[in-house]
Symmetry: C2
Subunit: 367 residues, 2 copies
DNA sequence: CCGGAGCTGTTAAACGTTTAACGGTAAAAC
DNA sequence: GTTTTACCGTTAAACGTTTAACAGCTCCGG
């Protein structure tokens, strides 16, 4: 296997020029006359020459790679993030190296370590906890980096892109309370993750203010099957709440799975607000009302910040905070008459009505 | 930004040894005395030294990277594949570069081209059509590669890992016919993709043999939203079939979305068999009966083949063909009495029964 | 006490690029 | 007709590793 690969030198010989000329043809850094350029291009094609990135990178110091670290490659939220980053990376001529920390701090450190070995132009990372990995903290100011999602804005001297988690909690909780729900359960993944805590805080603050009681928050972990078991178990020893607000897409699945197994009807017996917006959520007779994260925008902003830093922007770290919106569909039941003419902030009415155009711009759509 | 990074030389100076010794400490190729090793390790830590992969790769010719090319990073089937490959790659000390061809042949060629620029140890590719990209065909025998999913076994002189698509079609169709369905529609993505054609052929052969009629096959594309529109449109000008067999996970979503919008009940009005097995399919009151691809095994076999080739295995290309199974849940209605004691090949009974352990080993579970 | 053998360390030559510096030719300017 | 200028090529020196070749040392057998 593995015949020797063509090098600049071989192409140069075959085309009868110097290696510098060949290099210039490929990099376009200096102009090359058409006749020579044609010769070089033909020679390169004949040898099926391909610039060796290792050599190129070693000499030039420029990398054209970005590392992307996420906590879980099976979580659709992270993979859709990667998908969008890959598109923009391609557009700007970068390649993407992915790594998963599998929600493990040690693995996260070691994955980052190897990522750094690539001398990437930058790193986009979703930390697995809200303490930023030491190895990254050390690189702040030296290596362009953007921290996404699981991070407290301002907790680190790097650009961050997050959603307004507190507000997301508020929006969902307010909607549920307005609909007449009072016995509300928050299905969290892990309460030690900052954005999750914020969502809980946001929801709790609304419920406490409007109803004077504190909603239960339960931790279902970040595995849907395990979460379904935990929630089933929880259901067995608690009265059925009137509404459940799931704080992540995985806990949304966990809750739905558990309710399906127990044959509990949505929204007749219990109302549900899910998190994230995926096609499967609308592909059901009772389409899911859910908090939608602007994945496209998160990816776009993260990429733009990274590019700015790579280009040398030395401004203070900027914490981008994006807004979520409630996609109202059919999984929450109204228990009290509708207050006339009222419009809630961040709420978009949207059923499975075939006539509506509300289903545009879904994560699974390619634009 | 970007203070100069520590190099071997700097570490060597600080530790008072030669660069060869430092290299040996990191690569472990030659033994180094403990006292020196300690000194080197301390110096390296102090400078937070990290081997430069570009230089290392350039000199050694060894890469420790594999390229993974898929047609769509928003398709859960492909991302779960990537997730599993990443795990095994890490175990064997490889990094993963991902690229998406976005179902575009030209883009596929160019993505492969850049992937090759990395001089990877090997490539795992899911082609976007069944004609293997020229650039890959050229590398057959030189670069370790494994072709997965969208490829006809034997159509190329490289290892392939596919499922038995014909059989998958047969299993689903036979089940539907045994349940008494005769008006069956096949919801395909694109009929010009080989594995899809095979699924259609398998299902069609069974229906023709058992019922003497040919099921309709419609192309819904590889975007769920667009597919839903197409299927809605189809439903408007055709009588409702008694069963729909969706041939990909995306068409499964398309069909379910369209049916939900039209408020058509599953399985009362129409029975459904989906493709692939994801958590959301069981997270519904009418859990979806579906053909399950053994994603874990596909990824494992692909990785093992690749590793064997990297290790120098020069045996003839081996086409691995894995079997699918029908996960029987609640989305297909029985129209005729059950034939007593009959067991169908490849069929696993499985409801949403909370007592069952059948829900183990889901794609979203981490083991 | 000499000559391997076995360790452990160093020297130095690549690997395939990029790119600063330089050279040579021809057209433009004077 | 000479000098400038512009343009296009080439030469050669890195970049940070790996690794063959070599060298010094200790230990051991003869």
């Amino acid at each position: 296997m593995s015949r020797k690969r063509a090098t600049l030198k071989e192409v140069a010989e075959r085309a009868g020029v110097s290696i510098a000329t060949v290099s210039n043809v490929f990099s376009g850094r200096k102009p090359v006359n058409d006749d020579l350029r044609i010769k070089v291009e033909r020679a390169a094609k004949e040898l099926s020459y391909q610039v060796d990135r290792a050599a190129s990178q070693l000499k030039s110091g420029r990398a054209r790679v970005v590392g992307v670290l996420v906590p879980d490659l099976d979580d659709t939220f992270f993979t859709s993030l990667i998908s969008r980053i890959e598109v923009m990376a391609l557009k700007d001529g970068y390649d993407v190296i992915v790594a998963s920390s599998r929600d493990d701090r040690h693995l996260e450190e070691s994955r980052l370590q190897t990522l750094l070995g690539w001398r990437p132009s930058g790193i986009i990372a979703v930390p697995c906890s809200d303490t930023v990995p030491a190895i990254l903290a050390r690189e702040v100011g030296h290596l362009p980096m953007v921290l996404v999602d699981r991070v407290m804005p301002g907790s680190v001297a790097a650009d961050t892109v997050t959603i307004d988690n507190f507000e997301a909690g508020e929006i969902a909780a307010r909607y549920l309370v307005e609909m007449g729900h009072s016995d509300i359960v928050l299905a969290a993944s892990h309460l030690d993750i900052a954005p999750i805590r914020e969502r809980v805080r946001g929801a709790t603050s609304v419920v406490e203010r409007m109803l004077g009681r504190t909603p239960a928050a339960i931790g279902l972990g970040s595995n849907a099957e395990r979460g379904a078991e935990l929630f089933t178990h929880w259901l067995e020893r608690h009265p059925l709440p009137s509404a459940v607000f799931a704080l992540t897409n995985v806990t949304t699945l966990a809750v739905l799975t558990a309710l399906a197994r127990q044959r509990i009807d949505i929204p007749e017996q219990v109302s549900i607000i899910g998190f994230d917006d995926y096609t499967w959520m609308s592909a059901r007779k009772t389409a899911l009302t859910a908090i939608r994260q602007p994945v496209d925008e998160i990816a776009r902003v993260a990429w733009e910040r990274l590019q700015a830093r790579i280009a040398g922007d030395a401004a203070d770290p900027y914490p981008s905070i994006l807004n979520t919106s409630l996609q109202v569909r059919d999984s929450t039941r109204r228990l009290v008459p509708s207050p006339v003419g009222e419009r809630l902030k961040g709420v978009e009415e949207q059923g499975v009505d075939p006539a509506g155009d509300a289903v545009k711009d879904r994560p699974n759509s390619i634009h």
